[in-house]
Symmetry: C2
Subunit: 446 residues, 2 copies
């Protein structure tokens, strides 16, 4: 391992830098526009929620190659000294239009458009795709799980199974704006100001001579915030022990918050547990369920009427297991004032900077359809709402970052305006953007 910490500016594909050298040497350095969009929604997705904007803005505002980065690049002998010199003075001075974070989007709709000298626009591709793709997938996955939970709380337990620390932290944030109640990830809590939530692990129980000793020790340390994990040995005996401890807490003026079921037939166990708690005069003790859950299994529990108050989701949520990738791309659509586009087989793109317009139904205010036009086109309908707005000008942020809570509120509101059938967990409908004639009729001069 090298002894220096490469900066985030090096988080780019090598070809972004080699192309940059070739652009520089050939004098091909005019302003270009790049569109970030998803060609096709992943399976089971009728919509995605745009996320990652804040990281994108932070990255673009602070993008610099450090002296050590420059030394590293020089040491690879892959570049000329003219280009190395150029990079040492590099910063991002372009304009960025984007959707607001939390906006639903559909296939072929740009969520970010970068207009900058072509080298600048190109070097930032890798990070922008990496973050927008991941955070949008995560926010969308979370919204599906919240939808399935039908009003019960959902908590992020994914830190141990997400792909690395960045994914774990971003899933915590994405799932919160997607409607989760909080996260178990303390670092994400500190980074983003998220509520942190936790219960206890089986190891806590197995450290003590008996389950009830473990329960009592935890309840003593946290008399008002204890949720007891009851399935280490025998679930229903665990519930009995939890009831004993709940009564002991009550006698001291405290209340047990909940019990957690982490294995077995959760629907059946939740019903029996609810009955036992109610019979013991503990209707306020909540039931938390966990263990390999996702929107499909939660939907089934909810439809079975399982009396579960909160779900902890980890593995399958934190990797967006049923749709771990999208085909998000970042394509050049203009260069030096002219439209450009790729024609490649099955992967053709639409030319030019664009605007996405959204029209809503008059009666229920749900999305009617979208339009995709040139960026400078007139509104295609009088009440169409433009979704892309300027976020950075000359490399500087316009306005201030919205609070996390306001983004979360926007997601909830935006989801309420989605057609019901786009929210189906399987085989959802989607919204197709009406593409303006000006975009489809264009052909490159070859």
């Amino acid at each position: 391992m090298s002894q220096y910490a490469p900066s985030g500016a090096l988080f780019t594909d090598l070809y972004q830098l080699t192309m940059a050298q070739a652009y520089l040497r050939s004098g091909q350095t005019d302003v270009a526009t790049f569109s970030l969009f998803v060609r096709n929604l992943p399976s089971n997705r009728g919509y995605l929620l745009f996320a990652g904007l804040e990281n994108l803005i932070d990255y673009l505002e602070n993008l610099r190659f450090t002296d050590e980065d420059i030394n590293y690049l020089r040491s690879t002998k892959q570049f000329g000294e003219d280009f190395i010199e150029y990079l040492s003075g590099f910063n991002f001075a372009g304009n960025v239009r984007a959707m607001d974070e939390g906006t639903p989007f559909f296939a072929n709709e740009p969520v970010v458009e970068v207009t900058a000298p072509v080298i600048q626009g190109q070097i930032v591709e890798t990070y922008l795709l990496n973050q927008v793709n991941m955070q949008s997938l995560f926010t969308s996955k979370a919204a599906r799980i919240v939808h399935a939970a039908g009003g019960a709380d959902v908590v992020d337990f994914a830190s141990r199974r997400a792909h690395g620390t960045d994914a774990a932290n971003k899933f915590a944030r994405a799932s919160y704006i997607g409607g989760f109640a909080g996260t178990s990830n303390v670092r994400a809590g500190a980074l983003y100001g998220l509520p942190t939530i936790g219960t206890m692990a089986h190891a806590f129980i197995t450290s003590f001579n008996s389950e009830i000793d473990a329960f009592r020790a935890y309840a003593e340390a946290f008399p008002d915030t204890t949720t007891l994990l009851v399935d280490t040995y025998d679930t229903l005996k665990g519930v009995d022990a939890a009831i004993t401890v709940a009564h002991e807490l009550e006698s001291k003026g405290h209340r047990l918050v909940g019990v957690r079921l982490d294995s077995g037939d959760l629907s059946k166990l939740a019903s029996i547990t609810r009955g036992m708690l109610d019979d013991a005069g503990l209707p306020f003790v909540q039931i938390v369920a966990s263990g390999g859950l996702d929107e499909f299994s939660i939907d089934s529990l909810v439809k079975n009427g399982a009396p579960i108050n909160a779900y902890g989701v980890g593995t399958k949520a934190g990797v967006s297991a049923d749709a771990p990738w999208s085909d998000a791309v970042y394509k050049q659509v203009a260069y030096s004032g002219n439209y450009v586009a790729k024609l490649g087989m099955g992967k053709a793109t639409l030319p030019g900077p664009k605007q996405v317009w959204r029209c809503y139904k008059k009666d229920d205010h749900k999305i009617l359809h979208d339009h995709l036009t040139s960026a400078d086109a007139q509104p295609p309908e009088s009440d169409a709402t433009p979704l892309l707005r300027e976020m950075l000008r000359n490399g500087n942020r316009l306005g201030s970052a919205p609070s996390l809570e306001s983004v979360r509120d926007r997601v909830r509101y935006e989801i309420s305006r989605l057609p019901e059938s786009t929210r189906n967990l399987s085989g959802p409908d989607t919204v197709s953007a009406v593409v303006s004639d000006g975009l489809t009729s264009w052909r490159p001069k070859l």
Copy 2:
């Protein structure tokens, strides 16, 4: 967002800290052992390759809560001042036994065992699982792709689609030890000393007035390291233009390295392209294929005899798309000198610190079977090789880190000793460890 940068020590689940406070207050602070293992191999996996050891060691050696972390934890009002004080002096002083990085492992075999005061052993769970799970999945995915490529080079193009920057960097390293030739990710190249490799993007082509102008500009900037992307407009016309540029390079004493196909019927296009290049006297120009490839599509290309010299893989590789998660767990197996275990429904664990022993066949030196015994058991067979060895003692590393190249060599060697059928891309066989009687007969005293 908060104004401070929380340290890696906070990358833990909240319950690790609440349990720690309860342990501390109840005086339950003896030494415990925790085993990290996978209960079941993911679908399509006959083996996994252990990876992540170096990050684990770095993390454990340097684990400290900063003053700012402590202030943050105090601000949450979730903990008592006694526990906050304890954390401010926290470090990891335990012992760790682990497999060497790159060792194949099977279901139920511990790859890491941590023996430490219970609070220390517990707090590190989240990071250890996060990294070992991810890096082992990634290394295994890479080895499958290398296997399918049958001798052709494979290059990591996954940075834009991996789940975040940590995953992208770790996939670059994991795929290199798994046999890839290099990565497009410059930051990972700098972090780990990996070969960085790249070609060009469609945007480079669309920036110029014509495809051949773009080809010429790139070849002039990199006369000895150019691979031309030929599918932006019409693939076979792109190959024609590449041939022209290859001849121009030859006349100046240089050689075109390759052409890249990124769309269409890759098998058919590669055959036609190979013929065109050979007919033009350019047998040395290589064909690189990319575009949504994984081990399954590469296997099919190889079986079709497609004349492809190198594969660039991104999306499906970098998220381990067919197996994006494992059920890796970290379970307490001993406390205060006594065996412990969890019995939960369908999730029972084996008690006690363990050793994994590997026996090889006499004839072809491939794995015959494994044994799982107590850590202090005698060798179950005279020529059994123990796989877990001490890596940290009292929180300090024993010995020095192996070079990346030596880990990569070990992976290649270890894979050569796997039974062929465990390497099948679909429906592989696996190796079941023979579990010693002492482990299966044990029951907790409840």
